[in-house]
Amino acid sequence: MSHPIIQVEDLSKAYQIGQIGTGTISRDIERFVITKILGKEDPFLKIGETNDRSLKGESDIVWSLKDINFEIQQGEAVGIIGKNGAGKSTLLKLLSRVTSPTTGQIKVKGRIASLLEVGTGFHPELSGRENIYLNGAILGMRKKEITRKLDEIIDFSGVERYIDTPVKRYSSGMYVRLAFAVAAHLESEILIVDEVLAVGDAEFQKKCLGKMGDISKGQGRTVLFVSHNMAAVKSLCSRGIVLENGLIKKIDTVENAVGYYLSGDSEAQNQITFSNAYDKKEFTLHQISINPVGSTSDTVLDEYQEIEINTAITLKEVDNSLHFTYVLNNEFGEALFTFSHTGSGLKLHPGLNKVKCVLPKGFLNIGSYFLSFYVIENAKKTIFVEKDIMTFNIQEGERAIGSWMGKEPGFIKPIFDWSIK
């Protein structure tokens, strides 16, 4: 039995780009009378254009969101993902009533608390305690509600010692902690969170996510979460909504939604099939693909998988002096390491060779990588080089709630043998 707590129906939001103002006061007045007094739709809006920044639109109006429909059930944690400008923030703004929709409607049951920013309305001259009250009230709490939770909030913030000091003397970290502490103690049925994780140190991020997980899983409240951190989205949310150019591209389980979103990255290709461009005197290179072991090349690569690199090549001459070497470069173009099959004792044979190399589980860190391909003759002469022959991305995998969601330093994170006695 489903209980929708938020129902979004044909929701659209148009923005005017360029110069604000329709040009003349008389047109402004006409527009004002029609939209504001009569409550009709704006006749100066053109219908039917989507929001794609890279294309030149015909009018000054862009649809930041266009006819969005979805439902969110009680107690769900939903991640909203999409590129910059896809309409995520607009959707959050509409849900949190900061601005109103152009057409369509959102039906909500219960109170919504939205955290588009932490510490909204903090006044630098006021003490931490006074700001807790002020900020709490701005977020919709009653004074007695705040008083009841004051100790808990101060405790969570970890700035007890400075609670009666004006917040202008706080370090930025303390400021954010205090602000999040207030927000985390809101008693609302629905919590909307936008990228709060972008601020604060690792410990704080851990605390934030832990608290949010607690809110959604522990207390059964509904959470809408917007982030670019896929690890955080995956571990916190059960469902995902992918937005692109103001349209919903996919609503699915969070794994599928994140996968869909990431595979949409056009720069990275996990499989390249070569035409006769690499038809050389000694060999013909057919294909290179990268995929998780036991999966196909359209699967998203994540940091925990065992990854295989497959190379299909036909040797034309009966000559076993050839071998391959790969160089892996990071996104800054620095070589991370070189690897080849010579050490294994395996030899290439004439005809079609399907060469497979498996990188151990969890070897590569999150990031973009460039693979260069070399064919070497007699272990000394390079007869073929193709730099950056393919690009691939390693994405965040799912992590436990409460753990660090960012990227660890470094490009590889090998799993070594450990023992403790």
Binding site: S2, P4, Q7, Y15, Q16, I20, G21, D28, T35, K36, I37, G39, K40, E41, E71, K93, L94, L95, S96, R97, V98, T99, S100, P101, T102, T103, G104, Q105, I106, K107, V108, K109, G110, R111, I112, S114, L116, E117, T120, G121, H123, E125, L126, E130, Y133, L134, A137, I138, L139, G140, R142, K143, P166
Partner: protein
Amino acid sequence: MKNSSQSQDWDLVIKGHTSLFDLKFKDLWHYRDLLLLLVKRDFVSFYKQTILGPLWFFIQPIFTTIVFTFVFGTLAGISADGLPHQLFYLAGITSWNYFSDCLTKTSTVFKDNANIFGKVYFPRLIMPLSIVVSNLVRFGVQLLLLLLMMLYFYFSPIPNTSFHITNGIFLFPLLVLLMALLGLGMGLIITAATTKYKDLTFLVTFGVQLLMYATTVIYPLSAAPVAYKKYIELNPMTGIIEAFRYAFLGKGEFTVWSIGYSTLVTVVILFFGVIIFNRTEKNFVDTI
């Protein structure tokens, strides 16, 4: 699914076009604590890190009164209705200041709070209301100054008995309310308009100053030339200030009609102000 959801009671429906008169008073009431906290914030942040603190509230009216007494009373010799000049001006300044503070501060409410308004929803009307209440504190302090001055003149070595508190004092709460609401109403209209036409911001700053000269702050209505009198009376603040002087000092052209007229104008302006403000608040974030 559709049917089951339609039969449910939704607590909130967010849509683009709402009724003109949907002023969300229920929301406003829920957020009443916020109003008081904002007033407290204004007050505390005003005097924090100052030496004189709330005394600053006194300084502006005292100096204005001294200057007015010298320029308009001594140099220009404008009548003060037979009252001590200091009291005459102070009464005018106190009430005018309250009105003009409400007006000017309210008129920038969208601009000043664009950041907060862009991030969090609360009934926007809370902000201008908190401004009006904050200024009430300031007004109260200045009123105290007026009362002290009256006591001083009354008990000075040469007692001055040209003034006395009249039964008009019973209208005092109404007068304060009118000043507040008139300033609020005009401010709401202006702030709504400034989200699109920023020019108005500049107009307000000196417009309010000029408007003071069209109000009976530095001269009594009785001293106004007959030809201009009816125009001065058209100004709703005139009736209020005259009644205020009549209440505290016993001089002023106070009639039921003049105060009735001011009340009517205030109600109309406030009504339009609130409606326009509510219309604007829904989307101003997109244009400011």
